[in-house]
């Protein structure tokens, strides 16, 4: 298998699907001539030309809506949001149009749209540029929410997202674009809605995605030193959620920790905790612990930002708590 960076895996996924289907095109700010704000679309303008790799004005609601309309008549737009923070400007288009058109039209129209871009904190980008908004997106029926954590998952899931006939919100991580990982040479897809056990373990189940998956794996290494074997589960898709994978793991370990970069209140982590408590009620030996980003706007100062984000020590502490150690 080739070892490539996350951004490269995403780039491959888009290129392969665009070669496969002429109705797939990429649109967004700086995706073309500039080669992508984070270089995810590097080389794509040269490869596919201005017709299919389109630079937009800074007008998130406008081009998101344009993408939705185009999808209604058979195109398969990939709309890049320079970051998901800016997509808030397009929430009306995503929540009231993309998510509802199929339902309102009683199935006459579908919206095969992918909206993708980086999510969450990078380094010292401060409050308006550091948000993890998957909880809001996942709250809305009609939307699919995918948030991969490895190059291989990113490629396989982005290809599935582009082929899916539903509006898919695809969340990446600025900090992970450089992460390298093995990616199969041959073509492959990863099914939407199927989670993955990233590390097997017997003593506790840790559920985490995107950047936090890596924090959790590092924590698992730490815990190993003390003989604690953590099972680390990556849902990969947030909506629909692979509930069985999580519940079955908890039924085995009897303990669960959820690690999430987002704010805690009414978050995806809250949803998972609620389900684990209800569906593994008789198996839990301790209440589910949730490790979240601090419930504050992200501060600029690096020392504070570090304190605001989930970390290996915080995860280790949470695991020990559920183990009463």
């Amino acid at each position: 298998m080739a070892v490539i960076a996350f951004r490269e895996a995403l780039n491959q996924a888009m290129c392969e699907e665009m070669e496969r289907d002429p109705n797939v095109f990429l649109m967004g700010e700086e995706v073309g001539q500039y080669q992508g704000a984070y270089k995810v679309s590097q080389g794509m303008l040269q490869k596919f030309g201005e017709k299919r790799v389109i630079d937009t004005p800074i007008t998130e609601a406008g081009f998101a809506g344009l993408g939705i309309g185009a999808a209604m008549v058979g195109l398969r737009p990939i709309v890049e949001m320079m970051t998901w923070n800016f997509a808030i400007l397009a929430f009306d288009q995503l929540f009231n149009n993309a998510a509802k058109i199929r339902y309102m039209s009683a199935g006459q129209f579908k919206v095969p749209l992918v909206v993708r871009g980086p999510s969450g904190a990078a380094h010292a980008l401060a409050s308006q540029h550091s948000q993890s908004l998957e909880s809001m997106l996942a709250h809305v029926p009609g939307l699919i929410v995918i948030i991969p954590s490895t190059p291989a998952d990113g490629k396989g899931l982005l290809k599935s997202a582009i082929r899916d006939d539903n509006p898919v919100m695809f969340m990446e991580s600025e900090m992970m674009y450089g992460h390298k990982g093995e990616v199969p040479e041959e073509e492959y897809l990863i099914p939407i809605g199927v989670g993955d056990i990233k590390r097997k373990g017997e003593h506790v189940t840790i559920v985490a995605w995107s950047k936090m998956l890596h924090v959790s794996l590092a924590a698992a290494d730490e815990l190993m030193k003390e003989g604690i074997e953590a099972e680390v589960i990556d849902p990969r898709t947030i909506r629909p959620l692979d509930e069985d994978l999580i519940i079955n793991s908890v039924k085995k370990t009897n303990r669960c920790v959820i690690v999430e970069e987002a704010w805690p209140f009414a978050s995806v982590g809250a949803e998972i905790a609620s389900r684990v408590h209800s569906k593994a009620f008789d198996y839990l030996d301790a209440p589910v612990e949730r490790v979240n980003g601090a419930d504050v706007p992200m501060p600029y100062a690096t020392n504070l930002e570090k304190l605001a984000l989930p970390s290996v020590p915080k995860v280790v502490a949470a695991v020990k708590k559920v183990l009463y150690r």
């Binding site: 004005p57 809506g65 008549v73 149009n97 058109i101 199929r102 309102m104 009683a106």
Partner: protein, 341 residues
Amino acid sequence: MTTAALKKDTKGTKALRWKEIGLSNAKVIDLYRQMLLIRRFEERSAQEYGKSKIGGFCHLYIGQEAVGVGAIAALREDDYIFSAYRDHGHAIARGMDPKGIMAELFGKFTGCSKGVGGSMHMFDLAKGFMGGYGIVGGHVPLASGTAFASKYLGKDSVTVCFFGEAAANQGVFHETLNLAALWKLPVVFICENNRFGMGTAVERSTAVWDIYQKASAYDMTRQWVDGMDVLEMYRVVKAAVDRAREKNEPTMLEARTYRFRGHSMSDPIHGHYRTKEEVEEQKKSDPLLTFGRELLEANVLSQSVIDEMELEIKKIVDGSVEFAEHSPEPPADVLFENVYV
């Protein structure tokens, strides 16, 4: 600019105007008939709403028929139409079955959106009726999307988007016009300036009362049209649609019209925001009245033909209510259908 300036100016004698724009007598009679069908259909909808057969919001098109009928008559079958929540008239003008529209209003499974869409969300894929939408201005960018797709796919289908003058104050309208002008998309924006956004007169909601002039910020071809004159609507929209089809040139049109009823069935026809006198005055330019008179004077229509027409239309409207009444509600499992493909 004064309020008066917002009213239509006269266009002199109209004798056989339609010949000059290539419309046959049969065609203009059909335009009249479509307006009459919409009028009677909506009057009946109002009654059924009163009987609580129709629920939710119900925004009548009465008074504005010439806009939709004239504009849609200028379209081809493979063109796309987007509407807002005041969409019944557009749906009928597009030739959607009144039965399916009334059934939709009744929330029945035989409705054009199977009863899940309702008054504000009529859809008809086969007719290129891309839907009615409830968020003011929210559907405008969608129209640039279908226009983009036509260009991308090398099809010459044109998109027409209807919205109110108050919707032109929404940011996404501005964003969309910029995209349409910048990328030269085959779309015609038709702003139905009926003088009010709910209870707010246009003069109180926007700094420039010539709504069509807002397109100057995008250097887009623009003009206003007498929205009470179905032939003018046809003529101007036809020209705009042709420009879009042949040259991918977008156009912004302002159709000056008037809403004879309240904003929705639950709103007053007049009161705090406009006087009874103003409404009565405006009714003098009722498109059915004026166009009917024109056709009678030209001996293209006779009163007896109109009477027959009324009878035929009454049958259609009665039939649609009949159909809606006897149609089944959507079965329970429909609740969970079509959330995802």
